[in-house]
């Protein structure tokens, strides 16, 4: 007798999935991610460590050579740091005189990138720090070059970061030189678009774009990128610019999460 391969129950499950996805609000299904993401945490961390070791061992010779020059650089930077500290204290005193709010340097939690977005549609990262390390949803994430995104999901030992180049990302920003503000949105190709700039606004190629500090997520004044091209939008009402982020999303290995409590206020 020929055994027939009946997919009826499986098809039912498939149809049920479609109904669930389209009818239940996405945040109600987030618990599934919180259960499953930790399953991948260990293998992803292991693979990241092994690949890091493979890259680092051949560089040992160069690392030793660089050690001495870096030591000299460190001494010089210590001297610079002392000078900066003097300026900071002076600035604090002057701000008190002007009765403005003190703007603290934010505190960071360092994290390693252990995974990246597997699909072709979105831009995200998985980092090896989570709720147990004090991370929360909406915390800004950056590298020393600039802002890269914000945390959108947190599990006890890992978190997911939505990149600023993702199409779902929106940040209120300022052009650093002219203080023109606008909305920066991701367009999904590793770059962003600065929208809704008035036609008469003063923007030039190479201008730096920084966070405006509005919206309560990103602190004010953090570098995002530089303007690469400018064009007038269809209809001729607004200008828009393509902004190339200063942080290199492809080579990301370590990131800094700005602790929520240390985010300085934008208002004076």
């Amino acid at each position: 007798m020929v055994k027939r391969n009946k997919p009826s129950f499986a098809v039912l499950a498939l149809v049920l999935t479609a109904v669930i996805v389209l009818s239940i609000p996405p945040f109600r299904l987030l618990f599934l991610k919180r259960i499953l993401l930790p399953v991948f945490h260990l293998p992803l961390t292991l693979v990241h460590s092994v690949s890091g070791l493979k890259n680092n061992v051949p560089n040992l010779f160069f690392m030793l050579r660089d050690y001495n020059s870096l030591k000299e650089e460190l001494d010089r930077l210590k001297f610079e740091l002392n000078r900066t500290e003097e300026f900071r204290l002076e600035n604090e005193r002057l701000l008190k005189l002007l009765e403005l709010n003190k703007i603290d340097a934010p505190e960071f939690t360092a994290a390693r990138v252990i995974g990246k977005e597997p699909s072709n549609w979105l831009g995200s990262l998985i980092i090896n720090r989570g709720r147990k390390h004090g991370l929360e949803i909406n915390q800004p994430v950056m590298t020393y070059s600039g802002i890269i995104g914000k945390i959108i999901e947190v599990t006890p030992r890992s978190a997911k970061v939505l990149l600023i180049s993702d199409v779902n990302s929106r940040v209120v920003v300022l052009v650093q030189r002219s203080r023109v503000d606008g909305i920066l949105e991701g367009i999904g190709k590793g770059v962003c678009r600065l929208k809704y700039l008035p036609l008469e606004s003063d923007v030039q190629l190479g201008d730096r774009v920084v966070t405006a500090g509005m919206g309560g997520v990103y602190p004010k004044g953090l570098v995002i990128g530089t303007i690469e091209s400018i064009r007038v939008e269809r209809g001729g009402i607004y200008k828009s610019c393509i902004v190339k982020p200063t942080a290199d999303f492809k080579g990301l290995e370590e990131v800094l999460c700005i602790n929520s409590g240390s985010v300085p206020s934008a208002s004076p």
Binding site: N5, T17, K33, P118, N120
Partner: protein, 167 residues
């Protein structure tokens, strides 16, 4: 005479490796900013060897794994991969190692179907790239995934499917 035996444990290891590669080194795999969908290839592979019902289950499980690693919402890939599993399973016993044409058709249609369905469903819930950019992503991904399928299908088949001689 011989019969085929599917080595599920070996296949599970390959799935785990593919998930880790897809989530750990996507930039190294990408061509013009587009990655091949290794997980989808494994769903197709499993379905053409095990049939529609197993294909749906495999597709749904792997879709859930991809959804959990992705920033997108849970369930869309469960459905899309499940559908590809269902349709690929209909070709059970019709695709064999030497059939180049079937492997190309399965990979192209599977990728086009999964990515188009994802775009149409997830696009109702959150933002996705513009339609023009989406078309280029889908076409490059389909082409790239097909090339990877041609390179990997026979290799995986040799590792996973054993021919047992019967009297």
């Amino acid at each position: 005479m011989y019969k085929l035996r599917f080595r599920s444990f070996r296949f599970s290891l390959i799935v785990l490796a593919a998930l880790i590669v897809q989530a750990s080194f996507p930039d190294r795999l990408s061509l013009m900013g587009v990655k091949p969908d290794l997980i989808l290839l494994l769903v197709i592979f499993y379905a053409v060897h095990q049939g529609s019902r197993a294909g749906i289950i495999c597709g749904m499980l792997l879709g859930l794994a991809v959804d959990s690693l992705s920033a997108g919402i849970v369930g869309v890939n469960v459905f899309c991969y499940g559908m590809v599993g269902l349709l690929s399973g209909m070709f059970k016993d019709r695709v064999y190692a030497g059939n180049l044409f079937a492997k190309i058709i399965l990979a192209v249609t599977g990728t086009l179907l999964a990515m188009t369905m994802y775009y149409l469903i997830a696009g109702q819930i959150h933002r996705l790239p513009s339609p023009g950019r989406a078309v280029s992503i889908v076409l490059i991904a389909a082409l790239y995934t097909t090339i990877v399928n041609l390179l990997l299908f026979d290799f995986i088949e040799r590792k996973v499917v054993a021919r047992i001689t019967t009297i």
